[in-house]
């Protein structure tokens, strides 16, 4: 049997894809940073008793967890400028980052809320009892402990984000996947090209997983008996 698989092409195509990794990582990292900040703000609002704001945050989380990422990216990039003409100048990359971070913020809000909730109330009371303010207690004691609780789930969000950056191709962003698609179409070696892509994503995730494990080991240190 003659297997129609060109290993040579597979090896050759990988280097031509590598230059597109930075854009993929930038999309993922920038979205993650925005999502973490927004997620933390949302989590704090969800934990508070601020009337209207709390309901709005609940609706936000419910909405962005429910809609498909693609629908959301199209809504932002193609839909919003129709309503707000000022947004017509928005680049595809910006739209992708906004879309991805808005969505992940909703997931992170839930993760952070649980992480903050799992910190024992006695920790804050101990801070207050020695004359610290609530803000100091949050920054110095609650947040570090909540971070440790939330890190595994947060890492999974980041892994999901790296993969979802591939959806940016639908807005015309030429990131890793888009470039693979272009190469596949011109060479007609679909299997090899997409396999190369798959391997690159896989290796990126493996490397990130190592980093995450190192972070987890470090954060875990104080709690080991």
């Amino acid at each position: 049997m003659n297997l129609n698989l060109d290993i040579g092409y597979l090896i050759d195509v990988i280097p031509t894809l590598l230059p597109f990794i930075p854009l993929t990582l930038i999309l993922a990292i920038v979205s993650m940073i925005i999502a973490v900040i927004a997620g933390l703000v949302l989590a704090l609002i969800l934990r508070s008793d601020i009337p209207v704001l709390k309901q709005l945050a609940t609706i936000y989380v419910s909405f962005f967890r429910a809609i498909p990422t693609l629908v959301q990216l199209f809504l932002i990039y193609y839909g919003l400028p129709q309503i707000f003409p000022a947004l017509a100048g928005m680049t595809a990359i910006a739209a992708a980052i906004i879309g991805l971070s808005l969505k992940q913020a909703a997931y992170l809000a839930e993760i952070f809320r649980a992480g903050l909730g799992s910190v024992d109330k006695g920790q804050v009371e101990a801070c207050l009892s020695v004359g610290m303010t609530r803000a100091q207690a949050f920054r110095r004691v609650v947040l570090p402990q909540a971070t440790r609780n939330a890190i595994p789930a947060t890492g999974n969000i980041f892994i999901g984000l790296i993969k979802e950056t591939s959806l940016a191709f639908t807005l015309g962003v030429v990131e890793l996947f888009a470039q693979g698609k272009i190469l596949a179409a011109s060479s007609l070696r679909f299997f090899e090209t997409y396999l190369a892509l798959a391997l690159i994503y896989w290796i990126m995730i493996i490397i990130y997983t190592f980093i995450q494990q190192a972070i987890e080991r470090r954060l875990e240190k104080p709690y080991l008996s």
């Binding site: 101990a126 207050l128 009892s129 020695v130 004359g131 110095r140 402990q145 709690y223 008996s225």
Partner: protein, 246 residues
């Protein structure tokens, strides 16, 4: 030093403190005893406003707070006057023994780190933890954790230290070392309010004992009188049940 007038606190319809009056002089050790649910912890937690009373006046050293007109500044100021030792230690789990003690000095009192560490090390030595400075709470025994808790409370140099059953959560083997440290602090004329089930300790260390039941102070006297000649039937019954007093 500490004066509490007509302190009232309830949770929903449950009246937990029903107009408490107490007075503690400087350097005095007050022990509070009483059955479970009588409001001892709540009373202590009202003194540093971890619980907000509905009514009453609390004065500690130079700071006076009226429950009806509390603002966050007053709350913060009153808290500066005391420190608390908790039943479950509540050590900062993400910080070493030394960091637990220096945290308030560096963060709340804005002290230089080197200066705070000097104080922290002295205090940890004082409670017998010279070789545990850099260990995290998870690696310490209950008794050691509670001694860190005491050092942390001493660090802020409070006008009074509030102890809420500091040995109740400890395995029996660690109780005496914690009580010993508390005894030493009492001997140095610190003002202390101690909620405890350790009757023998209360009898030895306290200058005065309050017996509480159902949110009221039922009886207040010297340890000798309370434990040997309890006046109220409620006190007699309680002491009989826990097997002290004859």
């Amino acid at each position: 030093m500490i004066t509490v007038k007509n302190l009232k606190k309830r949770f929903g319809n449950n009246v937990v403190l029903d107009g408490i009056d107490i007075h503690v002089n400087e350097g005095e050790v007050l022990a509070i005893i009483g059955p479970s649910g009588s409001g001892k912890s709540t009373l202590l937690r009202c003194l540093n406003l971890l619980e907000k009373p509905e009514e009453g006046i609390i004065q500690i050293a130079g700071t006076k707070v009226d429950a009806r007109k509390m603002n966050s500044k007053a709350i913060y100021q009153l808290r500066q006057q005391t420190a608390m030792v908790f039943q479950h230690y509540n050590l900062f789990k993400n910080k070493t023994a030394l960091e637990n003690v220096t945290e308030s000095l560096i963060i709340a009192k804005k002290m230089k780190k080197s200066e705070a560490e000097k104080i922290g090390k002295e205090l940890l030595e004082k409670v017998g933890l010279k070789d545990k400075f850099h260990q995290y709470p998870a690696t310490l025994s209950g008794g050691q954790q509670q001694r860190v808790g005491i050092a942390r409370a001493l660090a802020v140099n409070p006008s009074a230290i509030l102890f809420d059953e500091p040995t109740s959560a400890l395995d029996p083997e660690w109780v005496s070392e914690v009580l010993q440290v508390m005894k030493e602090i009492a001997e140095q004329k610190s003002t202390m309010i101690i909620v405890t089930h350790e009757m023998q300790f209360a009898e030895e260390v306290a200058d005065r004992v309050i017996f509480m039941a159902d949110g009221n102070i039922v009886e207040e006297n010297t340890p000798y009188e309370i434990f040997n000649r309890p006046q109220s039937p409620r006190t007699q019954q309680f002491l009989k049940k826990i097997g002290t007093g004859e």
